[in-house]
């Protein structure tokens, strides 16, 4: 598949494209594309922030933007690596199936439709359709989430239900830990009154 076909495929034929990516593992291209997506999103989100600030009669304090520009893509890449590694590990522990590199490639490409979110939001705001912008953002968010689950399914050769379970497992675990900490703290705190 050519790069054009891969990008087209991620948008319109995600399953067959992810199957190809799982085998071909174009890691460098995937990471580069992911980096571009994050960078473009930040630049356009910056424009969105300024458009919003112009409605508020207040200066926006964005002096730390350059730090954000530097650290944003780095943290996003770190999170991508953690997500791929953790999901692969959990899948190996639970279902005995692992493919960290393949999953990393698939997750990198799964982020591509996310590049449409902020530009569409920006276009909606420019056209005076600010209300629509939130729905666009939500739609793209769900789209990327579905692609991430598909990435897990295809890269790790899981059933759809199993992929959803692995996808949600870190979230469920974190929620349980927070709930446990909350209940422990609540039980040891002295009652006032």
């Amino acid at each position: 598949m050519t790069p054009t076909e891969i990008i087209y495929g991620i948008f319109f034929q995600p399953v067959s494209t992810l199957r190809y990516l799982k085998k071909g593992k174009p890691l460098l291209g995937g990471l580069l594309l992911f980096f571009c997506v994050i960078l473009l999103n930040m630049i356009i989100n910056r424009g969105l922030g300024i458009l919003e600030s112009q409605k508020m009669a207040l200066a926006i304090n964005a002096d730390l933007f350059w730090i954000w520009v530097l650290l944003g893509p780095i943290f996003s890449l770190i999170i991508l690596f953690i997500m791929a590694g953790l999901s692969s590990l959990l899948s190996e522990v639970v279902y005995g199936k692992a493919n960290a590199v393949g999953l990393l490639v698939c997750l990198s490409f799964a982020s591509v439709p996310g590049v449409l979110g902020p530009p569409l939001q920006y276009a909606a705001v420019l056209l005076g359709l600010s209300g629509l912008a939130s729905f666009v953002a939500l739609g793209v968010f769900v789209w990327v989430m579905v692609l991430q689950v598909l990435s897990l399914r295809e890269a790790l050769a899981l059933q759809t239900g199993q992929a959803i379970f692995i996808y949600l497992l870190p979230l469920i675990t974190m929620s349980l830990i927070f709930m446990a900490v909350f209940f422990i703290l609540f039980s040891i705190l002295p009652f006032s009154g």
């Binding site: 054009t4 087209y8 112009q54 009669a57 200066a59 002096d63 730090i67």
Partner: protein, 300 residues
């Protein structure tokens, strides 16, 4: 062919939106609000006032940038009044004075200037506030601190313990006055004290001029000992003209400038997109700071 066309359209859309976003971020209207052709210019003074700003670009305290904004307000015909938003504990004497001189020129051009105090507007911050027509403080703003200070560190004993001996070759007897490597002489102390006293007198003159008719000479000399006040105390003493927040200052500026309540408000020294990314870190300033002595006069 169809796939290429779809991908090309997506890429073109992204590039157009990205370009528009960068254009908005770099536009001079950055920080603009309201309507109309004429309006208020807001100049922010955040952090320690100095010749150069913060290395991290986290505040707008560079005298050069502030003066540039004041000059822009004077030259632009659409700016009819200015709000100086100060959130500063003070800073270098020279930098504060430079800004105040530029503010005086702005007022001489017939444009009213209103100071809006944030958390603090003390010392050097108050020096520049005295070059405005009306000062508004929050009840809990920290202000005052009318005075000058110079702090020098004597590291002689530390050098002795570390076995460091400073060798000085100088053209005149006082060329190394303030050196951290030895005890200050009485003559040097007297020279420094004269400098402090002279700067203090200039500070007093600035307050006298700025608060003429609002505070008596006796009262000024009584309180000008470096002490700080809350905004409410300052109001009672005649150090500020009114209590209120940023929006009250905007309204006051509109009132003084004869502007409507819908007139535009533009921040004149907000950082632009590319400045934030590339110019926040100024290696030249870092070098200058490293090689310059730490004995500058401070209003803080």
């Amino acid at each position: 062919m169809g796939k290429k066309l779809v991908v090309a359209l997506i890429v073109i859309f992204l590039l157009v939106m990205g370009a528009l976003s960068i254009k908005v971020s770099s536009a001079p209207q950055y920080g603009l609000a309201g309507k109309g052709l004429s309006g208020i210019g807001v100049i922010e003074v955040n952090g320690l006032i100095g010749a150069s700003g913060s290395y991290l670009g986290t505040d707008t305290s560079s005298a050069g940038q502030i003066m540039k904004a004041v000059r822009e307000a004077r030259e632009r015909e659409d700016i009819k009044a200015v709000v100086l938003r100060v959130n500063s504990p003070g800073g270098a004497a020279g930098a504060s004075q430079e800004i105040a001189i530029e503010l005086d020129k702005l007022r001489d051009s017939g444009k009213p200037v209103v100071t809006s105090m944030g958390d603090s507007c003390a010392s050097g911050g108050y020096w520049i506030a005295c070059s405005t027509d009306y000062i508004i403080a929050n009840g809990t703003s920290i202000t005052g601190s009318i005075g000058v200070i110079m702090e020098l560190t004597n590291l002689q004993e530390l050098f002795d313990k570390l076995g460091i001996r400073q060798e000085t070759i100088k053209s005149g007897v006082h060329k190394d006055m303030g050196s951290a490597g030895r005890e200050m002489t009485e003559q040097e102390r007297a020279i420094f004290q004269d400098m402090i006293d002279d700067s203090y007198q200039q500070f007093l003159d600035q307050v006298r001029q700025g608060r003429k008719g609002k505070i008596t000479e006796e009262k000024l000399l009584e309180i000008a000992d470096g002490r700080m006040f809350t905004g409410r105390q300052a109001m009672e003493l005649g150090i500020v003209d009114g209590l209120g927040n940023y929006y009250d200052a905007i309204e006051k500026a509109r009132d003084l400038g004869g502007l409507s309540s819908e007139s535009k408000v533009e921040v004149l020294n907000a950082n632009k997109f590319w400045e934030e990314i590339f110019l926040s870190y100024d290696a030249g300033n870092v070098l200058g700071e490293l090689i310059s002595p730490d004995s500058q006069l401070l209003f803080d």
